[in-house]
Symmetry: C2
Subunit: 224 residues, 2 copies
Amino acid sequence: MTDAATTPTPDSLRPRTRIQQKNREAILDAALGVFARDGFAGATLDRIAAEAGLSKPNLLYYFRSKEAMHHALLADLLDLWLDPLRAIDPAGEPVAEILTYVRRKLGMSRNLPRESRLFANEILQGAPRLQGVLGGELAGLVEEKAAIVRGWSAAGRIAPVHPKHLFFSVWALTQHYADFDAQVVAVLGPEADRRWLDAERHLMQLFTALLTPAPGLFKQGGAG
Amino acid sequence: MTDAATTPTPDSLRPRTRIQQKNREAILDAALGVFARDGFAGATLDRIAAEAGLSKPNLLYYFRSKEAMHHALLADLLDLWLDPLRAIDPAGEPVAEILTYVRRKLGMSRNLPRESRLFANEILQGAPRLQGVLGGELAGLVEEKAAIVRGWSAAGRIAPVHPKHLFFSVWALTQHYADFDAQVVAVLGPEADRRWLDAERHLMQLFTALLTPAPGLFKQGGAG
DNA sequence: GTCTATATTAAGATAGAC
DNA sequence: GTCTATCTTAATATAGAC
């Protein structure tokens, strides 16, 4: 079955010419930067137009409103954002699985800081446009992964931790380096160049200490 | 020496009638809520006026501009924000000092969430009005306290950690519960009522695990 | 599809009566 | 000190030519 009118084709996937695609992407890229820095209310179409290299009315040819641009960005974001969490494998080695998760999330902070800030802005403002998704898709996925962590704790393969607060910790610690970068850089001064490397080392140490089970208790099966 | 004209009296301390004081405080209180939720650009004088129970022109009788209100809030905030960090005592028991610090910071997230979000909004936007203070007062204080932590690590009284990234971790983990409350509540669902208690337990466990030095290495002096 | 010109609304700030 | 009325600017969005 090829793509057809059977399933309602989402707006973001409607076929377009190469020029249309290119302009759409240029607009969304510019909008991402502006929304991330200035928030929804602080962002202006003038700025987005300038950064995209298009005129303001031309922006509104591609998106019917500022709101629509913001919506298009957010709609794609959560999926991307949750990829590392989805990748947690119940069959993997528990501590390694979580350390990998942390490393991936930190990598996203480093490589996608605008996305992180867009998300942070939205949540800070009470998640007016994400409420449903947070309580639905996100809560469901977290519930599923929390059960895995709970199982690992019960089996003594990691220390007993509150699974959901463990995830909060991963989010808080990794996203901090994107969202609060201005503060991180100001505090570190000349050390700031090394911040991503030092952050990774620090977070590996932190989660290893938190999760490594106390020796001699429960351990069943051992390594491998 | 009582207060006199010797030191330039800051605007926020100029003597006022009780009514003036009360209105000023009502305005700042309302402004704090609105700036925290909507960011600087998203905040409107109409909203602030409504929440303060005053007319818009009356707001501008007390503060010459929206910018001035924001400035007044930020000016007081950093001092308050850094109090728990200042309280870290080099003569205290290392792990206990840091756990106390974490507990105080978490308490501030719980009791002063608007302040936390105001601060987060500002940093998220690149700290345009705090750059100087972050690189000055904040960086200086962190440097001082980092030296203490470094000393504790060197003496084997806590595990060897990167002191500044340790502070970042405290900030990220505690402020997350204020700034991302919408997400925390959505993910926890019915558990959300217990979030502050569970967060405290989780963070105590996390920092205890991170900081407690490996037994048998270095330990000099022991308990007491 | 892209532009110039413009309608419309909202928000910061001021004037001036009381 | 506080209000109503208003000025002014800036920003979203649209009309209509090309």
